[in-house]
């Protein structure tokens, strides 16, 4: 994994989201340890969402279906959280939902950061 490229992923995210960006962190799914985090990142939240992803995967087995590229959680107040599971890693992005349109987040920002992250992982 290329750490410089990983940091560059965060920069892309901040640039694309502008004022709507709140915080972000990437953790390893196996032990919940933080790889990269921005200021104000809520590590506890990222860790519990790691458990939530496992919960979701199990829940979807009953459908039966598999989790795709992301899940998005609306949070009371002005925040929302986008969670992007990447196999051994999980990226959590907290945004100000009043400033970031969901369409922009899912159709523009998400594909860009998935590509950047995959590039960082294989480098």
């Amino acid at each position: 994994m290329n750490i410089q490229k990983l940091n560059a992923c965060m920069d892309i995210l901040k640039k694309d989201l502008g004022d709507g960006f709140v915080a972000s962190c990437i953790i390893t799914t196996e032990d919940g340890q933080v790889l990269v985090a921005t200021d104000h990142a809520n590590i506890a939240e990222a860790t519990l969402l790691n458990d939530a992803t496992a919960f979701i995967r199990n829940a979807l087995k009953t459908y039966p279906a598999e989790l795709g590229n992301y899940y998005y959680i609306d949070v009371a107040g002005s925040m929302s959280v986008l969670v992007i599971p990447f196999g051994d890693f999980q990226w959590t992005v907290t945004v100000n939902k009043k400033l970031v349109k969901l369409g922009l987040l899912l159709n523009v920002v998400l594909p860009a950061i998935i590509n950047a992250f995959e590039d960082a992982v294989v480098s």
Binding site: A65, E66, A76
Partner: protein, 286 residues
């Protein structure tokens, strides 16, 4: 007929004379004018809605009770019955049984004004509720009512009745959703978060609805215990195979909707379907 529906809608174009037949002289011509008979209004309205018809449905109960419904592409736009107009006229006529009916085409809908915003399903249910209240002597009840209630000595019976009404309303909500989404809707369910049970479902595996109830509990508790924020009113999941799962939380109820995102985009769901679902759900007064 001189009701507002006729004046405003400018709808009758089949060349037949307007006006209700006189009960005393039900001539052969008049019977031909009302070719459908012995039906309940409610059941026929549902057929028109289901078939997405644009038409006027004239209803004749007796010489003093007749009126008409106006449908545009299966949605009830207006009704008139004597001095009553719109929703009140519809509510009056929905309760009629053994009526005679006639259907007329609407050739031009451009000037048709929508005066009924409520969904037909809600009107049908409201009508049923009013009829039940009437049978039981009104909403406040009377001595007979009280005596009848005394006869129901097991309070659990009342719970079951209330539960059935609630379930029927929720099933109606899902029917509206299924109608709006067509084949884009994969599955849907409504569960009670507090009671942890499924109240209504549309092709949804019960174990999945239960699993997502547990997930909501987990997220609620985990957010509350570990962060300063609280779970909001929905979460969205991208699923492999072009499916999207949306969980909506309305107070004590949780909706779990899975749809094909190649047939219905998330934007369409959030901006068109979801507001309608919320409106319908709120109108149910659960």
């Amino acid at each position: 007929m001189e009701g507002t529906a006729k004046r405003d809608l400018k709808l009758v174009q089949d060349g037949q004379k307007e006006g209700a037949p006189k009960s005393e002289a039900a001539t052969r011509d008049e019977l031909q004018r009302w070719p459908l008979f012995g039906l309940s209004v409610g059941s026929f309205l549902q057929v028109i809605a289901m078939e997405q018809q644009t038409c006027i449905m004239e209803v004749y109960h007796d010489a003093d009770h007749w009126g008409q419904f106006c449908f545009v592409e299966g949605s009830l736009y207006d009704a008139s019955c004597g001095a009553l107009q719109g929703e009140e006229a519809a509510m009056e006529m929905i309760a009629w049984e053994n009526v005679r009916l006639n259907i007329k085409q609407i050739l031009n809908t451009s000037k048709v004004e929508r005066k009924i915003e409520k969904n037909l399903m809600l009107l049908l249910m409201e009508s049923t509720r009013r009829r039940d209240e009437l049978k039981n002597g009104g909403p406040d009840g009377d001595m007979e009512d009280a005596e009848e209630l005394d006869d129901i000595d097991d309070i659990e019976d009342l719970d079951v009745i209330a539960d059935d009404v609630e379930r029927a309303k929720l099933e109606a909500c899902l029917n509206i959703l299924a109608k709006d989404m067509g084949d884009a809707l994969n599955t849907a369910s409504i569960s009670s978060i507090r009671e942890g049970r499924i109240m209504a479902s549309h092709k949804a595996p019960p174990q999945t609805a239960e699993a997502f109830l547990r997930l909501t509990h987990y997220l609620k508790n985990a957010f509350a215990a570990n962060t300063s924020v609280h779970l909001g009113d929905h979460y969205i999941m991208d699923m492999k195979g072009g499916l999207t799962l949306v969980v909506l939380i309305f107070g004590e109820y949780q909706w779990c909707v899975v749809f094909d995102n190649t047939k219905c985009t998330l934007g369409l769901f959030r901006n068109v379907i979801m507001p309608k679902v919320v409106k319908t759900f709120n109108e149910m007064n659960l």
